[in-house]
Amino acid sequence: MRQVFARPESLKDVQTHFCPGCNHGSIHRLVAEAMDEFGIRGETIGVASVGCSVFLYNYFDVDVIEAPHGRAPAVATGAKRARPDRIVFTYQGDGDLAAIGTSEIIHAANRGEAITVIFVNNTTYGMTGGQMAPTTMVGQKTSTSPSGRNQAKDGYPIRMAELLAQLEGVGFSARVAVNNPKNVIQAKRMIKTAFRYQVENKGFSFIEALAACPTNWGMNPLAANERVGDEMIPYFPLGVYRNTANL
């Protein structure tokens, strides 16, 4: 018999705290598969952020530093400069990276820090209970935008993958989704490319992964998955926005 599916070695054999239908699990898996395929588990330092992704160290079998809210790119900068021979990645949500940590991500990217950033965009603050995020869609109801996000006073959802692609320091910037098998396969390829940038020392790499948050969207997992395709992808188009080394 041939084994065709197994847990990646870079993931621990534990249950996660993620809600049913949450995409963090899938994205964790793709990141772990990329680490396995490059054989870098033993030399990787993960930087956890604040939000649902804080428990990175419970799921990834790598050394981890826990950063203050939004500061993961600065923490990763310090770690990578001190240990340039290590693979350093951050894993951050949209409130963390695109609101309170905007300054840190922009400047780490602009310095071209040789780190990989995995940015999970689910249009809401998950852990604190579904408040409006910088990526919340116009009209989307959240616990702090009960009548829906109003662009006249709340502004517009930020497109981070495109924004960072404008910076000369960025090597790779792409947006992916994991809402269907085709997109999962594509996401896997992109995440691997992002790590390849670091493994081959080609500069800063950034992945924005669109994700479902059924609990805070008030949807069942299937409907949440459909929302990613129907509402998010038209506003947050998938694709590669910068790829300086053509990897």
């Binding site: 588990r41 033993g42 030399e43 990787t44 330092i45 930087v47 956890a48 804080v54 160290y57 079998d61 790598v62 050394d63 981890v64 530093i65 826990e66 950063a67 203050p68 500061r71 600065a74 923490v75 990763a76 900068t77 310090g78 770690a79 990578k80 400069r81 001190a82 240990r83 290590r86 693979i87 300054s103 840190e104 922009i106 400047h107 310095r111």
Partner: protein, 353 residues
């Protein structure tokens, strides 16, 4: 033989950091401490180190956190407004038991304040400064030589006790030039950093540097562990300088640049036949409570002098015997607020028993 140099206090801090083995500096420009990043931006790259001018004080302290988590000696420096911004990161470093040196060349505040010498950040430094209930080591140099020596000590204490250490000086000490003996790094016995993240390696257990404790009783246990460590610090590491306290009927007490002015005033008092001594705490946390308690068994009158409306005076009052009287003379920070020796001598006359 140690070299004798004529340098600014801020430069002495930078030189000592390099001698202490610090190769990573993260900072942001602010007066009156910018000589420190300027010096290290020239010095560190040639030594295989890294100098980063961060986009903000917040980023700088978090770079320090990340570098420290990998086990290297690292430093940041700033002044009032910047130190306020760093408090988030300092709290996380304290919560993660991370060493790291933070230099605060105090300026006047609150708000943008001014660039004149101040001691009004005593509370911010000695009470932890950020959220959650923690302390950091605080050392108060009073000369350029001490800027050098205490910076080096800050690295050692920070590593030994696994907590951030602050060098708390003011713009007078930071900006003035004095001769300095560039002492070599002492051969202090340091604990193994068996907690650093390093990329776990095959077959090695995972290491995590974090401050989140959600398990039943975990956070409480952490607080008591740190409480015990602060007590250990107080038992072993209190440092101060005292002068002519043996027969004193009045002990003048001040730290940093103010202690230098007070020293001259004490000499004037002695010349006038008054039995006056000087007590200068060097460690502000741990505060040398025991030393004050001992002095107050014989001497019942203390005069605290600060460049603020009174902060360290609280610690002095908590340390001395109940029957000792503590007077205070303060010049809150700002242009023209530095007291003269004659002015302090006048205060000594006023309260001398």
């Amino acid at each position: 033989m140690s070299e004798k140099l004529f340098v600014k206090g801020n430069e002495a801090v930078a030189m000592a950091a390099i001698e202490a083995g610090c190769r990573y500096y993260f900072g942001y420009p602010i007066t009156p401490q910018s000589d420190i990043p300027e010096y290290l931006s020239r010095g560190l790259p040639g030594l295989g180190g890294e100098f980063i001018q961060a986009e903000s004080e917040i980023a700088a302290i978090n770079m320090l956190l990340g570098a420290s988590a990998t086990g290297v000696r690292c430093m940041t420096s700033s002044s009032g407004p910047g130190i306020s911004l760093k408090q988030e990161g300092i709290s996380y470093m304290a919560g993660s038991e991370l060493p790291g040196v933070i230099v605060d060349i105090m300026r006047a505040g609150p708000g943008l304040g001014g660039i004149d010498a101040s001691q009004a950040d005593y509370f911010q430094a000695t009470r932890g400064g950020g959220h959650g209930g923690y302390r950091i080591i605080v050392l108060a140099p009073a000369s350029v030589q001490e800027m050098y020596d205490l910076t080096m000590l800050a690295f050692d204490l920070s590593d030994i006790y696994r907590m951030p250490a602050m060098v708390l000086a003011d713009s007078v000490i930071g900006q003035m030039k004095e001769s300095v003996t560039a002492n070599p790094r002492p051969a202090t016995a340091l604990p193994d950093k068996d907690w650093v993240v390093r990329g776990r390696g095959e077959g090695q257990p995972q290491r995590v540097v974090k401050s989140l404790y959600l398990g039943d009783g975990e956070m409480e246990a952490f607080h008591w562990k740190m409480h015990a460590r602060y007590q250990e610090l107080a038992d072993r590491e209190c440092r101060w300088e005292d002068l002519e306290t043996g027969d004193a009927d009045l002990i003048v007490t001040a730290f940093g640049s103010t202690a230098r002015i007070a020293r001259t005033a004490v000499a004037m008092a002695r010349e006038a036949g008054m039995k006056v001594g000087l007590m200068r705490p060097i460690t502000l946390f741990p505060f040398p409570k025991q030393a004050y308690a001992e002095f107050s068994r014989r001497c019942k009158r203390f005069l605290v002098i600060e460049l603020s409306t009174g902060q360290m005076v609280d610690d002095v009052r908590l340390s001395v015997a109940r029957d000792a009287e503590v007077d205070f003379y303060g010049r809150p920070p700002g242009a023209g607020s530095l007291p003269t020796p004659e002015e302090l001598f006048g205060q000594i006359r006023k309260v001398y028993p």
